[in-house]
């Protein structure tokens, strides 16, 4: 069981370039999330998905798009990267069983936009 994996681990982009971050989970979880983490700001939700084929906006969705074509994968796209998108991106997944709703996080992707 790999849990939640993210690729790539680190990326440097130039302003205006595009890229896709991939998140994969092998726990058969329904829910998946993309967060960004900046110093002093905690974890801010970008987009999330409550099931295959569905996505919803979180707190800071501007500049990002997502897709959940397969249950196990959640993709985060940056169409035209900006320096303000320099951050650490975490993917997470969860499954609600009764009251238990633990989120399992991937190792993160460090993105630097120049």
């Amino acid at each position: 069981n790999a849990g939640v994996t993210q690729t790539p681990k680190f990326r440097v982009l130039k302003t205006g370039q595009s890229m896709t971050l991939l998140c994969a989970q092998d726990m058969n979880h329904e829910y998946m999330y993309w967060y960004r983490q900046d110093p002093g700001m905690g974890l801010r939700l970008i987009h999330y998905s409550v099931g295959e084929g569905t996505t919803a906006k979180g707190e800071v969705p501007d500049g990002y798009n997502v897709s959940r074509l397969k249950k196990q994968n959640f993709l985060l796209g940056l169409e035209s990267a900006a320096p303000s998108q320099t951050s650490v991106y975490f993917c997470a997944s969860s499954q609600t069983k009764g009251h238990q709703e633990t989120q399992y996080f991937g190792p993160g992707t460090r993105l630097l936009v120049l």
């Binding site: 829910y31 002093g40 975490f90 009251h99 709703e101 996080f105």
Partner: protein
């Protein structure tokens, strides 16, 4: 929208001293979770509290959920250098929704001097 406030933002203690971090929500929560993130790592689930006034212990860590289900605390007794990291609380709105979205506090970064 819901907000989860967490204080303090930083805490520096000497090994052996106690540590407490506090979370307050603007709305009633159905549950609250606590996560720990080691430096350079990803958030890892510690515990979930569901019931009003609930207290749970994990070795030197004591977690409390307020009677009104709007606040929570994490107390570490006799800190050790292995406790270093950022502690996040995360709450779920009590709206009867089955969605797994959590609202994260900004975290408390704990430094422990040997």
């Amino acid at each position: 929208g819901q907000q989860v406030m967490q204080i303090p933002q930083y805490q520096h203690v000497q090994e052996g001293e106690d540590f407490t971090t506090y979370c307050n929500s603007s709305t009633t929560l159905s549950n609250i979770q606590w996560y720990k993130q080691r430096p350079g790592g990803h958030p890892v689930f510690l515990i979930q509290l569901v019931k009003s006034g609930e207290v749970k212990k994990q070795k030197r860590l004591t977690f409390q959920f307020g009677e009104a289900k709007k606040n929570s605390s994490l107390h570490i007794t006799a800190t050790q250098t292995t406790d270093v990291g950022t502690y996040f609380c995360a709450g779920k709105e009590d709206r009867g929704s089955t969605l797994g979205r959590l609202y994260f506090g900004r975290g408390t970064q704990l430094t422990v001097w040997p």
